[in-house]
Amino acid sequence: MQLSFRHRITNYLEQPVYSAALAFFRIVFGLMLFGGVVRFWLRGWIEELYIQPRLFFHYYGLEWIQPLGPTTYVLFLICGISALGFALGCWYRLSSVLLFLSFTYIELMDKTNYLNHYYFVTLVLFLMIWLPANANLSIDAWRRPALVKRTVPRWTVGGIRLMLAIVYCYAGLAKLNSDWLLEAMPLRLWLPAKNDMPLIGPLFSQVWVAYLFSWFGAAYDLFIPFFLLSRKTRPYAFLAVIAFHVMTSLLFPIGMFPYIMILSALIFFNSADIDRFFLKIKGKWRMLPVADGNNLFTFAPLKRRLISGMFAMFFVFQLLFPWRYLLTPGELFWTEEGYRFSWRVMLIEKMGYAQFVVTDSRTGAKVAVNNSDFLTRNQEKMMATQADFIVQYARFLHDHYERLGMYDPKVNATIYVTLNGRRSRLFADTSINLAEAEDSFKHKNWILGFRDKIYGL
């Protein structure tokens, strides 16, 4: 019984689906990333975010990932070119590895710029490295016709779908809290700020609209993957995906994210439909390397075992990692310990104000720090509400003032933080010398209590 169940699962996962689905996703995703790199470059953000800042906030344990100075442009160049190579299926394995590495490196240089959708892109790229996405309509397949395969195992497409489903479901679960559902926070603060939009603007001044959006948003995130999976509901679900993400892009400054999600949802389309679409294209342009035979792509047994084992571990990790916050005490939204890499998207309105004072241990001379001397506006904003940023910044200030001749500078901070419209309160113990505080995965006990309760996940 056990064995036959496992057998049935394996059989299901190994069933052939049309490789066109994977190839189509590869093209769309790659082109979008290429566009993203060009956009980033043209807006001058490489200079502004990765070259100009005096200080870069690294991830704990990843301190060795350093900014590259002007070489950052080369990194973006590699990222852009490999995105094109990825999209075209040109030296696919090399392109996908380079794209994954360069994109991830950029992402890790400064956690100020952390975005959930960058993380999503990194994860999808990691999965894509191992998949035969160049088996159809690719330059590789055109150069080596033996690569052309009509079908791929179901789990290859399924892996991408599962990744997307996790993003949505976990984003939905994260919204199941009292602030979001019962107070309509933070949408009731965010929506009135957009009430000057034409036509629908006046609606955003209404409190019930904030409730409607909160509840609809939570339900959408929780259930959209299932509606996308079901053949019957798929067309409507995809329309909902477009409507939802276009709405969010109008309301919030979230850049590429809505488009990444809309285009990624294409992976849910029936692979047979995409295959038909590919054949139609081939009908017009005969020379295109589109698979039209009946050849199946199969992994070599050892490779299959290794990759499927790795995918299984990857997804187990993905399912568990967002829950790590349960291991640290305190309100997650307040401490943000375990907040990142957990699909908590546009979930809280948080703002802080941090006044640092550096004291010479010998003379007692004090300096009030002007944060804008050292940090960009974005960095200051992030730093003022997140403990791990505060630790690194305090270290930086210690070293900076020591170089200026202070004796063992003590770094104290008065930090006020407001969360979802609550009155701001002290975030950190003002008596603690933050220069001596350590960053780690453990709870930072100098974070003061939240003194309120948010119920839910």
Partner: protein, 374 residues
């Protein structure tokens, strides 16, 4: 499909049931008329900012006239008249200073009006040289109200000595000219800002967004910056030596007219409250202001008190403490430094309320990079 819809509905219901048990009192209405940012901006432009610059302009004209009379015939009565006009104009400035965004910011008006303490040596060097350029950044602490303060209150130990600098002194002529030039520069700059506002207004009230370049964001940034840096720190923090623990009476505003400093601080605090609440400059009535907008957003503290109201209360407390100081700031920082530090703390309490609570609730973005967020 049906099953999914069903499960969605039942899930939602379960959610409501599970969570309503812990729901706090729900008196969160919200009058959406208060979310009309165009009405708010129009109120600020027409009922506060434009009248404020007009008033400033009128007071400077009066100051100029008094200075002309004084320089033509320096005597005790013309000196007193000049001092009166200076006090009137300086008080008015306390209500104008917080408007430094848009045209005021482009002109750097504050730099020509009220950078204190005045650097006496620069003033005297300029007078001695007879030629100077008040436009330059280097002269910012040799002009404006603080320079006039020195010139009409600080030259000598008594009025006769002061008058001597305008009558018998070798540089009397150059000094008179400097006084007139300083006032002329102030008039020129205020007039430039006023003219600029004439054309700026239309775009200002139309730019109703909440992004970095929106009118609301610029106005609030200018306002909060004023409160933090030019009210809290400059008027109280630096003279009391909050950071250094050393009192610096010489850093007080209107240093040569010590009892006037307290009055200026009170004026300034009153103006902050008036502006925050959207009251008309004339004081008669009240329009839609930041306070109304914040109140409509209904953010509250743990006791259910509107944060919008807490800000007014805290500002009042600080103002009352200044009233109760009972002696000039410059002596208080020496004799009763604790009381000044208390005022500073009270003023400081409002900083996070304005900078964090209000800005966060208004949904204003105060980051310069319009980078993606999520």
């Amino acid at each position: 499909m049906k099953r999914l819809v069903l499960s969605l509905v039942s899930f939602s219901l379960a959610g409501v049931l599970a969570l309503t048990g812990c729901k706090k009192d729900d008196n969160k209405g919200g009058n959406n008329d208060n979310f009309d940012r165009k009405a708010l901006l129009t109120n600020y432009a027409d009922n506060y900012i434009l009248p404020a610059y007009a008033d400033m302009s009128a007071k400077l004209t009066a100051l100029n006239t008094a200075a002309a009379t004084f320089t033509a015939a320096p005597d005790l009565s013309s000196l007193e008249a000049l001092r009166y006009s200076w006090m009137e104009a300086y008080s008015t400035w306390q209500r104008v200073d917080l408007c430094e965004f848009g045209p005021g910011e482009s002109v750097s008006l504050r730099m020509y009006m009220n950078i204190f303490p005045v650097t006496v040596s620069k003033v005297n060097a300029n007078i001695a040289a007879g030629s100077y350029d008040l436009e330059t950044f280097n002269n910012k602490d040799a002009q404006g109200f603080p320079a006039i303060d020195y010139l009409i209150n600080g030259l000598g130990a008594n009025d006769n000595e002061i008058l001597g600098f305008y009558t018998s002194d070798a540089q009397a002529g150059a000094r008179k000219q400097y006084l007139l030039n300083v006032i002329a520069k102030m008039q020129e700059k205020v007039s430039a800002v006023r003219t600029a506002w004439g054309s700026y207004r239309a775009g200002f009230i139309e730019n109703t967004g909440t992004d970095v370049s929106s009118s609301l964001t610029r106005m609030v940034n200018g306002f909060v910056l004023y409160y933090e840096r030019y009210l809290r720190t400059a008027k109280f923090g630096l003279p009391a030596g909050v950071m250094t623990s050393i009192a610096r009476p010489d850093l007080t505003e209107a240093y040569y007219r010590p009892e006037f400093a307290d009055e200026l601080a009170i004026q300034s605090l009153a103006a902050v409250r008036q502006f925050y609440e959207g009251a008309h400059y004339s004081g008669g009535s009240d329009g839609p202001g930041l306070k109304d907008y914040l109140a409509a957003l209904n953010t509250q503290d743990d006791n259910g008190v509107l944060i919008a109201n807490i800000i007014s209360t805290e500002l009042d407390e600080a103002a009352a403490s200044v009233q109760n100081l009972g002696q000039p700031l410059s002596t208080a920082v020496v004799n009763n430094r604790g009381a000044v530090l208390t005022i500073f703390d009270e003023l400081q309490e409002v900083v996070p309320l304005l900078k964090v609570d209000m800005v966060s609730a208004l949904g204003i973005s105060i980051t310069y990079t319009d980078n993606d967020g999520d």
